[in-house]
Symmetry: C2
Subunit: 207 residues, 2 copies
Amino acid sequence: MTEPAPVFASGVDNERLNAQLRFLLEADKLKRVLRKNLLVDGSRRENSAEHSWHLTLFARTFAEYAPEGTDVDRVIEMLVLHDIVEIDAGDTFAFDRADAETQAAREREAAERIFPLLPEDQAQRAHQLWEEFEAQRTPEARFARAVDRLHPMVANWHNEGGTWTRFGVPRAEVLKKVKLISEGSEALGAYATALIDDADRRGYFPA
Amino acid sequence: MTEPAPVFASGVDNERLNAQLRFLLEADKLKRVLRKNLLVDGSRRENSAEHSWHLTLFARTFAEYAPEGTDVDRVIEMLVLHDIVEIDAGDTFAFDRADAETQAAREREAAERIFPLLPEDQAQRAHQLWEEFEAQRTPEARFARAVDRLHPMVANWHNEGGTWTRFGVPRAEVLKKVKLISEGSEALGAYATALIDDADRRGYFPA
């Protein structure tokens, strides 16, 4: 835990401000959490902070493919927060079953440590948004998940199969993730299907 | 320029979708633009994509310090886009005067190349938001600028002076930036002042 500078700003509730700073300083660590997938140009692995930024840009740009009435500002608020639990829990590779089994418990524990760094009202809102993302019961949560799932597929296609090729992920396993995309956005699901078909023709999946 | 996969998604305007993808693939390059300041833990330089993510979290967390009526969703939309011009123009160190002189022209050129990758309606909106940020005439643009200026100060304090010490930036120069913070948020301006006073006591500025 990094403590904020021991300073006193005039005209501000400094206890509250310091709680906010503790959370923001802790969040800086997300820049050091590495994902399995590479950048589009293949130069290095992506980290979860820059990934979260790219997802907010995906969500805004693809907003028209969300079901009518989806609150895209809320989707973006969710995406900014959704990976912060990885500071403690690490990034879980979508195709690692052993890791996936313990993921929910690890991430819940992380949420219970990190969000309460914030003042109570903000901690509650952040925790609720994260729970909403996890529960996948609102159009906002499903659209956020859709771009989160589509993003590494795009990176993989541009890296001649990327993690699919490197970790031998069969096409059938990847197709299961398309369902999660279609649930959030029919159009993005159709795109993911086309992308995987093309990747298959190019031999990016193990035979 | 990275071309999207040559695939055809059913039920989608593929020409429009491909324009959106061209922009999103180009935006990936922001992850490779390095800023002068380090991460809070000093382990490496920060890149502009993860910086943009952290700013969206700062803006949301510090929303209560924006002038009443500030549309924080719009601030966040602006922050997600505001550094994309750095893909061509590079990051301009706030205290490099020679670089600052050519910055506006370089960034404008970048905006004119990168935003039009999007479909025309979206290109216009993105360009307008970026212009709004640059013009600093709305409370949203000023609050976005405030968190953008405060962020590296916090990182510098936690790195025993960081870029101030390393590049010999005098306290008086840093105090000029506080004005830009106060214009966006009185409370954050007060915090920045207190932070710089403390940094000065610790000897983080050249004598």
